[in-house]
Structures are given as C-alpha cells and as structure tokens.
Subunit: 384 residues, 2 copies
C-alpha cells in the first residue's frame, strides 16, 4: 500500500472544527505532509499545509513525482525525520480530499449504456447513434460531492402518478452506481484541446465513486435536458486519491470499438484501467465488474471533454459512468441488476431488493488486477 | 446608477498580473472597496480586500445591507473618506466578479421551450410533459464562465454527415442565448430544501448572461444525457452584479401557469423580474424580450434546485434560460429567430445570418422596466 501513496485530507478523529491537513496513506498509518521534517522544502509550505489537495494538483507531474520520491525515501529511512508525522489511521477522520471544480459524469460502459437504453426506451435501439463515436457525458453537481462515510438522505422529488400528475415525495427508486472517478491535476488552457497522448499530463489520480441516483425523479425530469435532481443530491467518493503514477502497470487494452473513433479520439496502447470494482450491500457482495471493459479510456474522456476548447481546472472530477459487465452479477447498479425493479435481487438474509431501502449501506471498493487495494467509498441511506 | 450599487472585481486597465480588487460601480466611477477610508471596519478587511465577491456573498443579507448603507452614506458625504478610492471607470478593467461554484442553466421561458421543442422534435409535442410542473434545468460548466469582453472562439466538435458518420470540425451553427443569471449569496445546508418564500435570503444579485451554444454539436451529443460540449466552451456574464436589494420595485407577476405548480413551488405576490433584455448583433438591435414573461421565477428556481436536499454554495450561478417572447423580434436566440436556419435574418447592412459568423459581436443588455441600466455582456466570435 505504501507504494501507491494515496493522498488525502484528514482531521484528528472527532475534531470537526480543526482545519484539515494533507496526508499520505501508508498502510495503517497516515503521514502528515506538513509535519514531516523529511518533506520540508520539497514543495512550497503553502502547498503541503493546504486543507485540500488542489494547490498540489495544480503544480503538475514534476512536483507530484518529487513528492512521491521524497515520501518513499523518508519512509525507507524512517527515524526522526518521519516518525513524528506518522499517525495511526484509526485516529484520523478523512475529509473531502480536494475541492471539486467541475464534475462531469460519463457513460463509458457499453453494457451499461445499452442495458439502460433497452430498459428506459424499450421501443428504441439500446444505444443512441452518437454512443460509438464519443464518450457521452453531462455535468453533475460539484457542490454535493461528499466523502465516503457521509450518510445519504433519501431525496424527495417529483414523480408522476398514473394520471400523469406529479406529486412531491421521497424517491421510491433510490439506486447506486459503481464508478471510478478521475481527478484532474494540471489545468489546461482555454481554447486548447488536450490530445489523447498528453492527457496523462493532466490526470493526477483515481477515486472510487458512487453516483447515487433516484431513478423515478430522473425519469420524469430528464426530457429534454438530461439528469438533474435525480443525481444532484449526493455523489460519494473515496477519501484517498491513488496517483496514476502508481498505476502504470494497471493498464489493459480497451475493447475494440464497433465503429470509430475519429482520429482525435484514437489511442495507441493499453489505455483502459485494469481495475476491478466490487459492490457490497449490507456486507454482502452483489456485483463485481472490470473497468478494463469500459469502451472509453481516461485519456479519451479528457480529449473529448476539451475538444471544443473547454479548459480543465485542478480538482475537476470525471466519473467513468457505471461500470457493468454482461453477466447479471457484473451489473453496476440496481436499475440494471433488477431490470428496473422487475427482477428483484434476493439477499443472503432472505430480504429482497428492487431499490435501496432506508438503512442500507453500499460499499464500493476497487483493486488493481494485480490485487492492490485502491480504496472504497461507503454510504448509508437515511430516511427522507 | 449609484442607487443600484452593482458590485464587481477589477484591475487597473492593462495590469493583467495585479490581483483583482472589489468595487462598486457608481456611474462613471468605481469605488475601490478596500481603499475607501469610509468603509473601513464595515466588514472584515479580508472580505473587502478579497479578489472575488465570494466571501462577501457568503456573509448574507445583513452584511450586504450594511455595506450598501455605508457606501450610500460615503458617496453622499463625499470628501476625503471616499474620493481617494473613486477611480474613473475608463481606467479599470473588470474581471470575473465571483468564482462560479456550480452553474445550472434553466429553461424557464415557455415560448423558448415550446419553440425549441417544435423545431427539434417536429413530430412530438412542443413541451415535454414535465415542463409545466418544474423548472427543467441542467448543470453547465462553471470553469468556462468568462467575463464580458472575453472573445469566444468558435468551438470544434462532432457533427454527423449525411451518412450518419460524424466528422470533427468547426461548428457551423454557433448561436447566442440571451439570459439573466442569478448569483447565490448565502449558502444553504445540505439536506434542507429552501422554500420559495425564503429564497430571497440566498439570492444576492443579477448578471446578464450569454449562453453561447453550438447547435450542431448539441443536437448530435444530447441523447440521452442532455447538452454538454455544445455549451461548455464558454458562457459569458456581465461584470457588475446588481444586488436584488436594489431591484425591489422591478418585480411583476409571472404568467399564470397552465397546470401546477405543486405546493412547494407556489409563490404569492409578484416574483418575476420586471426586466427587459435587449440583444444587438454588430450594433444593430435584433431582439428585445421581457424577463417578466418567464414562467418560473428566481425563487421557484431556488426552491426546485434544493427540493431534493441539494445545497447551495456562495457563487452558484443560475441561468434563467433563453428569454423569448412570442413575436419574432422577441426571440432570444438565432435557433428560434431563424427557425434553425430556415428563415434567415437580414441585417441593416444587407448581410444575412442563419447563425453567427466569425467576427460577429453580440451584446446583451438588461434594464429594469423603470429604465435603470442593469449592465451588459459583450462577446465577439473568433474563428475556430
């Protein structure tokens, strides 16, 4: 785990009024970046002592690797230059690791896109005509991204009754979506698209992401401008951002496209993340899928997002969209898993789920194909 | 104009490396908030000396009115407590007045929504079934909101050819949208909807907004998740935020709804903005519409946005959506005005527009029905 050097922000447990500090997760300890004598001077004090990762993200790849090397050296040497700054993980409380600039959620899994299309538009084709040509995506609400462990209150919203008249009430179709989130480090210049082969200069790292979704609210509101309140109540992320620099071996080729892509989205070499994503509901594993099966890779998401000249900011968060495979136990949300509630899921305790119930706890975790633990995002449903 | 006390951020003209300062627009002068002896101690120094309005926005209505009163008093008294801080407007350059937190764009004009529906979905109903029941909206890109005067480069994007295969190229259907933008001041608590009758505690002020739109990119990408790259390249706002406290008389009743709204969206009294919005293209007026004709009011937008528990942050920007009236010269974008290019607009110089050409300058200005100037947003199209 210390090789990965996941970065985050934390407070001493229970000290909710203290300013957060930055740390590196080292197994069962956390290295306080601003308190470690061995790290002094490696980066500007204001970066190491910031309450969020954004200033570090903005510095770019050479600063990130300078910090990685200094941390590795310090941990290897041990002693007084590092030990006073090593805190037991159990004594700290992670907080949101970075201020989310813009949050864009994509739809990069062919299985997910096709299954949702068949469920929601049974008379149409599963995939929309654009799907093979671009990573379809939309902006989500940055201000309601919360850190793992934050309870999620069941949202209220409008849902139409049988006569077409809506009423306001608690969502009766609360769902999770198992995703990965890509964290942008280096900003890009307005008007200058980032090509696929330079995207890695802008992508800092990876979190696990739960894109909570109220399917009934979403279905009623989405025409013609897309999802909004069915998603905007909360998005949860894991607290420790795993740098892509630690994941160089966790790459695999993306599935061959059926058509396209256009030249500006072509990627040579294995660009997909060779990462498995596992979902548990109240402790029972209910899904496992491979991010390597996503059709659009992190570099392609960045290239598409900036192809119109839109710029990136440090702290932009890019969700991959639900990670699903073809088998029922590889479907990354209940919409797919229960076919919108028509095919309920029976849990080991005998209880049945079409959608999430109050009190349910969803934990999504990720591990590299080689087995390294990439963290987890956890959230429990509170009643409306 | 000094009664309005529009607030913004500026630099001395040409001093692009200096940190921005906050100011109040007073006719042809700007009062530097941090430099005026008369304002010392009215609010914390860190608020008055910030480079963006966000810390002031976060303080809430009582701080906003304390500042308004102090500015009015200082200007009335004149003399040494204010004159050293009064700068000629011609000598300063406004910058983006606040850091945009989340940007949500709504679709509050019935005429606009219905006309777009008839143009884009000629076989369907103009309005989607949800339209009468909620202010439909979606999240836009906060990081590409730019201040008036920033040139806007024509975006590239994917557009399908006659055989359905897309190619990447400059948009051939660049459009403007004349809107107002509402600026959120006081944040709201996660999980706590803001009722209609308390929305004014959270809304600080008003800007004029141009939601630049590439209609060809938008049409191809929007199924099923809504607009994205067809909008995300740029959104322009006017630099001086007019406080709602100055617009108490600029209110009118919104048009009576045809159905709904549900109780949580009901508003008593005149909630619509009695503001006219005028668009010029290369100096020629091409449209004039009334924001009072929008079906959904600022308070209703806030109540809907937070009805699922989503919280507001200081600096959230809420676009009303295109402001259109029924007459051709009241249509607030070229999509409507030229019926997607089928009915071109002939300008006074004899040239013809279906969409915007390179070099075109669009200026959208707003004035209260009583005639007060609420500012303008200006942008010129650069070639791709």
């Amino acid at each position: 785990m210390s090789d990965l050097q996941p970065l985050g922000a934390f407070r001493p447990a229970g000290a909710s009024t203290e300013a957060p500090r930055l740390g590196v997760l080292c197994g069962e300890a956390v290295l306080d970046l601003a308190a470690a004598p061995a790290l002094r001077g490696v980066l500007p004090d204001a970066v190491l002592a910031a309450p969020v990762l954004n200033p570090l993200l903005a510095l770019g790849p050479s600063a990130w690797s300078a910090l990685r090397e200094a941390v590795a050296r310090a941990l290897a040497e041990g002693g007084g230059a590092v030990e006073p700054a090593l805190l037991p993980r159990a004594g700290i409380e992670p907080v949101l690791p970075f201020e989310v600039a813009d949050y864009v959620d994509f739809f990069a899994s062919r299985v997910h896109a096709e299954t949702c299309g068949r469920i929601l538009r049974p008379d149409g084709d599963g995939l929309t005509p654009n799907w093979d040509w671009m990573p379809v995506g939309y902006h989500g609400r940055a201000g309601t991204v919360v850190v793992s462990g934050t309870p999620v209150r069941r949202p209220c919203g409008q849902v139409p009754g049988p006569d077409g008249t809506p009423r306001l009430g608690p969502s009766a179709a609360l769902d999770y979506e198992a995703e990965l989130g890509l964290v942008v480090g280096t900003p890009s210049a307005p008007g200058e698209p980032v090509p696929v082969d330079r995207a890695h200069e802008h992508l800092f790292g990876l979190v696990v992401l739960n894109d909570w979704s109220a399917r009934d609210i979403q279905a009623w509101e989405s025409a013609p401008l897309g999802p909004h309140l069915g998603k905007s109540f909360a998005t949860s992320i894991s607290p420790w951002v795993v740098p892509f620099a630690a994941l160089k071996d966790a790459r695999a080729p993306a599935p061959a496209p059926q058509r396209g892509p256009l030249p500006h989205l072509r990627e040579d070499g294995p660009g997909a993340l060779d990462v498995d994503v596992v979902t548990t509901l109240n402790g029972q594993q209910i899904a496992r899928a491979r991010a390597a099966e996503l059709s659009w890779t992190p570099a392609q998401l960045v290239a598409h997002l900036t192809s119109n000249g839109a710029s990136l900011r440090s702290g932009d968060l890019l969700g991959t969209g639900t990670i699903s495979g073809a088998a029922p136990e590889a479907r990354g949300c209940l919409l797919e898993r229960t076919w919108a509630g028509r095919d309920p899921l029976t849990l080991l305790d005998g209880s049945v789920r079409t959608w999430l119930q109050d009190g349910d706890e969803v934990v999504i975790s990720a591990c590299a194909a080689a087995g390294e633990d990439l963290g987890e995002v956890r959230g429990r449903v509170l009643p409306a």
